[in-house]
């Protein structure tokens, strides 16, 4: 019996490796699609999938379990928010919002099956706030072909927003990673001029889009001593940190999810006595990262934010936020940039449905989204503008810093790249904007 074990352990490991390879390969396939949607069908109010006189049915693939289960507060809060709107306002335009969450556990192949189920069996009206870049890449063209609106995807990959004419039914929600990288790059150029920057990036659209922005942002002011990719399956970022330390980096950029990011910063501080400043992606610019790394380790780390913080409870939107969280058993101190992001994007969806009004069709929904101008959600720092050529709502961010308690402190330095398409992103395209003074109060 003994040898046969070994065979199938190795087999299992190889199989797991292959799965990862297939998943990564799939990302590339997603890029090449670019199919045109079926726009020939005339709009009909009578027979719109997922819409009745009393209800509108939304759904999404998302992460409730699996490696990024920590983000499940996003779909769970959205669900609670829609319940809140249904209870307090009777829904939108006389229709209650039903929202179905299909858990793909961050597994791209599951996302495909679940999305097909949502569209073909559940017959949802629209996808809302799909979570996970590699997962959503697998279904983006399917949704376009099926004519299903793909509203406010919960990642900042430029794939969703770079060309609305090629994919007219998809809208982003986060600041796109290249725009975010651009602002962070400019911050580095302004603060570390003449120095050396090292970049550690997740080897997929998230990291690559972000690193591209950093590179534009730093320009010639700073030398990039290394761009070190890692895979999501890697257990730690030790070798990347060691290498950048050997290269005498003056600042390190991390486009990574919270767990590995915490691990990387801990390695620098605790294992190497290296007090290099870190600049990180908004993906990890949340209180979870502070909790994982510990306040003493993460203190001073810089990134972008676009909402108020949980401790800004004087802001009416934040007060409502805490109330809704309380309704689902989450204590106020667990309000985070993740849950606040969820409120922003849920409010954006409600706003879109309101604009579409009673004659709700998939076409009118997209048109309603494209009509949004200078709209500010109740927990947002900056306005949102969309249009036929602009499916990228969050195109601004404020520089923020972790304090010694792992809380995020917002600064008065913010930039906007509103209306600038991904291809035209440059330092000159950035406009410095004001941060609401209420956001500057510290915890």
């Amino acid at each position: 019996m003994k040898p046969s074990y070994r065979f199938w352990i190795v087999g299992l490991i190889l199989a797991a490796g292959m799965l990862v390879a297939v998943a990564c390969n799939g990302d590339d396939d997603g890029d090449g699609g670019g199919t045109t949607p079926d726009a020939t069908e005339p709009p009909s109010t009578a027979d719109v999938p997922g819409v009745s006189d009393t209800e509108v049915f939304l759904g999404t693939h998302t992460s409730l379990t699996g490696p990024i289960a920590a983000y499940s507060i996003i779909p769970n809060f959205a669900l609670a928010y829609f319940d809140f709107i249904n209870a307090t306002e009777g829904g939108v335009a006389g229709r209650t919002i039903r929202y179905k969450l299909a858990d793909d556990a961050y597994d791209p192949s599951k996302a495909v099956d679940l999305t097909r189920q949502l569209v073909e069996q559940d017959k949802i009206f629209a996808l809302f706030n799909a979570l996970g870049t590699p997962n959503h890449l697998q279904v983006i063209d399917y949704l376009q072909e099926r004519g299903v609106p793909d509203m406010y995807v919960a990642t900042g990959a430029i794939e969703w927003v770079k060309d609305p004419s090629a994919r007219p039914l998809v809208f982003g929600s986060n600041p796109n990673y290249t725009g975010e990288g651009l602002v962070l790059g400019k911050y580095i150029a302004d603060n570390f001029a003449g120095g050396k920057v090292g970049i550690i990036l997740q080897n997929d659209d998230f990291g690559i889009d972000g690193a591209a922005g950093i590179e534009i942002g730093v320009g010639d002011a700073v030398e990039i001593v290394g761009q070190l990719p890692y895979e999501v399956t890697d257990p730690d970022l030790f070798s990347q940190i060691d290498t950048l330390r050997a290269a005498d980096a003056d600042v390190v950029v991390l486009f990574s999810t919270p767990l590995l990011l915490g691990n990387a910063i801990k390695h620098a501080r605790n294992d190497l006595n290296w007090d290099v400043p870190f600049v990180i992606s908004a993906v990890s610019m949340n209180e979870l990262t502070g909790l994982i790394a510990g306040g003493d380790v993460i203190e001073g780390t810089v990134g972008l934010v676009a909402t108020y913080m949980g401790y800004h409870s004087d802001i009416p939107g934040v007060a409502t936020h805490i109330e809704i969280l309380d309704g689902i058993g989450v204590p106020p101190e667990q309000a985070s940039t993740l849950s606040l992001y969820s409120q922003y994007v849920s409010e954006l969806m409600v706003e879109t449905l309101e604009r579409a009004g009673e004659d709700l069709t998939r076409e009118s929904l997209v048109a309603a989204a494209e009509s949004i101008r200078d709209w500010v959600c109740s927990v947002c720092l900056f306005p949102v503008t969309l249009g036929p050529d602009d499916h990228d709502p969050g195109q601004a961010g404020a520089i923020a810093t972790f304090d010694s308690n792992g809380q995020i402190v917002v600064s008065d330095l913010a930039y906007s790249w509103e209306g600038v398409s991904v291809a035209d992103l440059s330092v000159d395209a950035l406009v410095q904007i004001d941060v609401p003074s209420a956001a500057l109060t510290t915890p």
Binding site: A70, D234, L272
Partner: protein
């Protein structure tokens, strides 16, 4: 850092650093090895738990990582009520009880069937523990250490450093390894456990309380797993997914070292950690991000030459 290679296609006009070769930057080379040992010692401890259960019950426990995760969450709960050390030891006791109970209640009915049945049961346990932990403690990561024993600045010799947690993990791995070695090679109890794993019927005939041996194997393994969990969680963080990635490497370490050798588990774990780090840095980026693949390639090569692993004893069978 002169050798800059551009990675065309991925980032059109971006330079990706290729680190200086070891002879030009020996301190980076040394640091990569030390850091590799640090991550490798985490793999090694969990690998020891796997080896322990294999030696004492002759099955592979795929739920090892999730059990460790579960007991670490329990330790976290205890720590909200008491200090680190008492909480840690209570968690170890609970882990031992849990491991023993699992063997008695869940594994016992399938133990007499083909080993594959037991393995499938452990796969089931994997899912159950993950679901339970998610249900009890929720998806949010928990802040977990590093605890005061492991706090303080890193220990450096010129430019090469090791953190206190990493050093502590390595020392714990070596202690557990030594303890297991002594248990299995130098005590009557260990001999009885090995005999049980080898041939249950014959062991029973010579008067070994076979059932107790199996229970003890699971209890000890769960305890070692709990130690691993507490160390991993301090290094990475405590979430329901934390131990899964480590488990994959721990299995690789156990297989590389030889599934029945505790020394092999540690050597295997450390080698994989070091190999992973070195190939991440010294393999040209055109080849891609191959650190993990490279580590596994080496395992396959080793197993082709030594199917029983580096330290494993080949299973000889008289026919």
């Amino acid at each position: 850092m002169d050798s800059i290679v551009s990675l065309t296609g991925l980032w059109p006009d971006t330079a990706v650093m290729l680190a200086a070769p070891p002879w030009e930057d020996p301190s980076l080379f040394a640091q990569l090895i030390i850091s590799g040992i640090a991550s490798g010692s985490l793999f090694a401890i969990l690998a020891l738990a796997i080896v322990l259960i294999y030696r004492s019950t002759n099955i592979l426990n795929f739920a090892q990582g999730e059990m460790a995760m579960f007991t670490t969450f329990m330790a976290w709960t205890f720590m909200t009520r008491m200090d680190f050390w008492p909480a840690f030891f209570v968690a170890l006791l609970v882990a031992a009880a849990m491991g023993g109970a699992l063997e008695r209640l869940v594994l016992r009915p399938v133990e007499d069937g083909p080993p594959l049945n037991s393995v499938i049961v452990t796969l089931g346990l994997f899912t159950i523990f993950n679901g339970l932990a998610l249900w009890i403690w929720g998806p949010l990561p928990k802040g977990f250490g590093p605890f005061s024993v492991f706090k303080g600045s890193a220990i450096c010799a010129s430019d090469v450093c090791i953190g206190r947690l990493s050093l502590g993990t390595l020392i714990v791995a070596l202690i557990v390894m030594l303890a297991l070695y002594l248990l299995f090679q130098r005590t009557g109890l260990g001999l009885a456990m090995r005999a049980t794993a080898q041939n249950r019927l014959a062991s029973q005939l010579v008067g070994i309380p076979v059932n107790n041996m199996l229970t003890l194997g699971w209890a000890l393994s769960a305890t070692v797993g709990a130690v691993a969990g507490v160390l991993v969680a301090q290094s990475v963080s405590l979430t329901t997914g934390t131990l899964f990635v480590i488990l994959l490497y721990a299995f690789a370490a156990a297989v590389l070292g030889g599934l029945d050798s505790s020394i092999g588990a540690v050597v295997g774990g450390l080698s994989i950690g070091v190999l992973k780090n070195l190939s991440a840095v010294y393999v040209p980026p055109e080849v891609g991000s191959v650190d993990v693949a490279m580590a596994f390639l080496v395992i396959v090569l080793v197993l082709m030459v030594r199917p029983a692993g580096l330290f494993g004893r080949p299973a000889a069978r008289r026919v």
